[in-house]
Symmetry: C2
Subunit: 339 residues, 2 copies
């Protein structure tokens, strides 16, 4: 492949001048510039970003760590991230962690070797693990997205949804529809989001003066369709159904939906169903849910990360960015006006 030297030979100018032209350093005479541009065209020269990175210590590469890209939450987040990356001339590496700390660790090692300019982490558990310290030691900025460790260091950043408020909003809405017997299916409590959602639910129930039944607060090791399905089956088997099942993820709600249909329970006449995340295809089953602005989450996190990679620190008010949730009312919840 032609290098800057080839352009130098072809044009008769030195590599330094070529470099100035490529980088738009405005000290080159118009005629030199013209000739050089022609030479570049002629030899088909393309600057080598690897060589450039070696000098500049910037790679214009970011990375995002997700558990599983087939979870519909992530493509939306990623598409927001990719949008700002593109606008700022960055590229993004996709890393599927598959719920494995070890894999996360290895991926981070590889990203450090590759000298990425920053990492979006959406796989953090509540309990801190040493993986992220490696990034910090190597001076690579990172932003927690959606999930974060319980305790964050002074120089750590977080972009997420206001889960507490979101769960409260839902409970308030449930109350408004004059429903009161509510079951809550929670996700794994090792994740910040699911802990918050449960907390928000409990707090919301208190605020709404609704009775919270222990038997109807269900926690699972997982937050996928299967978990939702199993919980719903068990609820039905118990013969003691609530009026509403509020799930802490849409995936859980999808599973619940399948189980309810299998058991011929009519939604929302016999039982209401509410999800969390507003996944792209929830509308197919008219799933009432909470929108967390997934795409915007990715956008903001990307913005923070790029700022960080340029300045190494941010305003205090940008340490934690919480986006506002929005209730998405659909017919899987029985509405008062329809009674």
């Amino acid at each position: 492949m032609p290098t800057i030297k080839d352009v130098a030979l072809k044009s008769g100018y030195s590599t330094a001048t070529i470099s100035a032209v490529i980088n738009n350093v405005p000290i080159v005479s118009p005629k030199a510039k013209k000739k050089i541009l022609e030479a570049i065209e002629e030899v088909g020269y393309v600057p080598n970003a690897i060589a450039r990175s070696l000098k500049s210590a910037k790679t214009l590469s970011l990375a995002i760590l997700v558990h599983d890209i087939t979870n519909p939450f992530y493509p939306e987040v990623i598409s927001g991230l990719e949008e700002v990356a593109w606008a700022n001339d960055y590229e993004v590496f996709l890393c599927n962690i598959e719920n494995s700390l070890e894999r996360e660790s290895k991926y981070i090692d590889k990203l450090i070797e590759k000298c990425v300019d920053g990492v979006i982490i959406s796989t953090s558990r509540k309990q801190r693990n040493p993986n992220y310290d490696k990034l910090r030691k190597h001076n690579i900025p990172y932003v927690f997205l959606n999930r974060r460790p319980d305790e964050m260091y002074e120089d750590e950043y977080f972009v997420g949804a206001n889960n507490l408020l979101a769960a409260e909003l839902v409970v308030e809405f449930i109350k408004e529809q004059e429903l009161s017997k509510v079951a809550f299916i929670s996700g794994p409590q090792q994740y910040f989001t699911f802990k918050e959602r449960l907390e928000g639910f409990v707090r919301g129930m208190e605020k709404a003066s609704l009775t919270l039944y222990d038997k109807w607060v269900l926690t699972s090791e997982n937050y996928n369709e299967e978990a939702g399905y199993n919980h719903a089956k068990e609820l039905i088997r118990s013969g003691d159904l609530p009026e509403v099942i509020f799930c802490s993820s849409d995936l859980l709600a999808f599973g619940v939906y399948t189980a309810l249909k299998e058991e011929c329970k009519r939604i929302p006449d016999e039982i209401s169903l509410i999800g969390f995340d507003n996944d792209r295809f929830g509308h197919l089953i008219d799933l009432c849910s909470v929108d967390l602005q997934n795409r915007e989450l990715g956008r903001v996190a990307g913005q923070r990360l790029i700022e960080l990679s340029n300045t190494k620190e941010l305003d205090a008010n940008k340490k934690e960015s919480l986006l506002e949730p929005r209730l998405v009312i659909r017919n899987s919840c029985r509405l008062l006006r329809d009674k």
Copy 2:
């Protein structure tokens, strides 16, 4: 950050020996190796992949070009690709092309600058565009995934589904269920896949001796939910409904589903619905569809690409890999046995 020199100073060995240790070149004495490993640990040395790439002309980075990652087809493909990339120590860049040739072109330029070792292209239109020639000129291997140009060069590779067969399978199945009035909603004909699916449908209808009505072969500029919705609305308005609507993507089918529900058409009693792609959430609405092995598609394409990046050419039988489609029978299609 510590470099190989720091390790050299610390350990008392030369950079060449350190390098040999890092790269597992088995010519280093055990004691040297031990000392060096200790020194590496002590100074916290991590090899710099950028510098390494500059020498080796390999970056261990791949890229995948997709139109829109929120289309559920892609996360599955990508997750297959990521799987083999991970197993072979590659990283993958995600590029959202957003249906823009210009954006595709710019992305390819950036990937060339970044010296990626290969590119998976799933955005190709039937009509060849010069974007891919740039990759070829720079000796960067690429594999077409799912979509390909009508004409491929000798040294081009393709991994896709057998769309012809898939569409035929569906028609055969329709015939078996003793349904005969079939409408087909096609996607944009500028894409190989949609052209093939239409072709397969037509051929299947012939083979099954079913009458093909022009009024029921609908083509749209898009293959999203909205397009499906609009087509279905129009069909209903015409007052002339077929027994089955066969869509050339699940997204189209989702849109049709929404329209049918709005108009209170019962599925499958009044009308049957069949999709294409077997998207992850089609089961929510019991959508009968064709599975194309999305994840496997990504896996095979990744494998081909990595082989290519090591050898620069493949066996003739690997030029085009077609995966076998599989019918996924669900209740959105009226089954003979239920009549």
